[in-house]
Symmetry: C2
Subunit: 228 residues, 2 copies
């Protein structure tokens, strides 16, 4: 067990790269993640990414061979999970106690996740009575760094007649989140797939006696679990 006393020595940037790499590797379940892909995800140049990856390799948070794919070490993973824990706990706090809406929390949580204080985040967790899910439905890693991925499929993978429950939404885009709540969808909504249109893959869905047509792109960002 390499418990090399992780002293919170990372810069904001280093943390951002580790978290992004984790999200591509684990949450998006990518088979391989490359330098340019990470660059695009973080909206920086490939040169910047290359540079940072070198540094993170030297610090033993990242593994990769020249011209090869990227991976995280145990230590790198652990840092990323702690960042995700912080992000999701703060999002939960903002929604539950400070009247933030779904689409408002992300930017502020991006800042708050870099605050360095073990006590702060563990006390926040306790204060909220150890919530299981964040406002977008995702699971919150616990204080021991145990991370698991919510079992979910995209709405777009369903067929005519399927019935599902909304368990999470992609929190990457503010306009998407606004759209979701505007049409009246929320976590736990029961959604029935009325028809998947051949022509453009758009989907007619029904929920709370509302019937809506949503695009394939929309449905790709809505995560559900099948009920029927």
């Amino acid at each position: 067990m390499t418990n090399k006393l992780n002293l919170n020595n990372l810069t904001k940037s280093e943390e951002d790269y580790l978290k992004a790499l984790f999200q591509l590797l684990v949450e998006d379940n990518a088979t391989k993640v490359g330098n340019n892909q990470l660059a695009e995800y973080l909206k920086v140049s490939p040169a910047s990414t290359n540079n940072m990856i070198k540094k993170l390799k030297a610090k033993e948070y990242v593994i990769s061979e020249k011209y090869g794919k990227l991976d995280l070490t145990e230590e790198g993973r652990s840092i990323a999970v702690r960042l995700i824990r912080k992000h999701r706990l703060w999002e939960t706090f903002l929604c539950k106690y400070l009247n933030f809406t779904w689409d408002e929390v992300h930017d502020v949580a991006e800042q708050l996740e870099h605050i360095k204080s073990r006590k702060l985040i563990d006390e926040l967790d306790r204060f909220m009575d150890y919530p299981k899910n964040d406002p977008h439905g995702e699971l919150i890693p616990n204080a021991n760094g145990e991370y698991s991925v919510l079992p979910k499929i995209t709405l777009s993978s369903l067929l005519d007649g399927d019935v599902c429950e909304l368990v999470a939404v992609n929190d990457g885009s503010v306009s998407f989140l606004k759209y979701v709540s505007e049409i009246g969808l929320a976590l736990s909504s029961e959604i029935r797939v009325l028809e998947v249109r051949e022509f453009d893959k758009s989907i007619r869905i029904q929920f709370n006696d509302v019937i809506e047509t949503v695009t394939r792109k929309f449905a790709d960002n809505v995560f559900v679990k099948k009920v029927v």
Copy 2:
């Protein structure tokens, strides 16, 4: 009214300098504040301060002439007050809801005060029902940026027989704050000055049936209002 749409464009460093200058100018009530004094307060080199002051002058947050004393513009003051508001509200939150002690809050609040979100801080204020004082006793500026200084004198300015109430403590040093609570002093404690010793200016005080001798340096950091 130069309301030039203050877009939170400042770096963490710029904010630190503005806040420090405000604290020297207004809170310590200094008649003049110089470059080296500011450098010492921030624990950076005079060269760094000189450099930053140039930038802040260009941005019209600071006024000074070459080799002259430093001052803040209205805009600079307003930014500093907002930082102090954020710092004190976070300190209050940490103590009241997250089980932080007096001496633990400062470092975390130093980080939290740089989070940029108007909504975050105003909602935090509302959540706590608009507290008037922070855990060290200081007044919290309101959402309109109205700032006032708590009427207070130092314990060291009192004479034999004076009785006072502890209204605030200097929050600059963790070891000092620990010391204060260890001997049993807290906000609102009633303190009686038994004797100011000529030899070394040490002071014998009594509070809650405890008698203690404190140094002049200690008493300089304890703020009181006179009762008798």
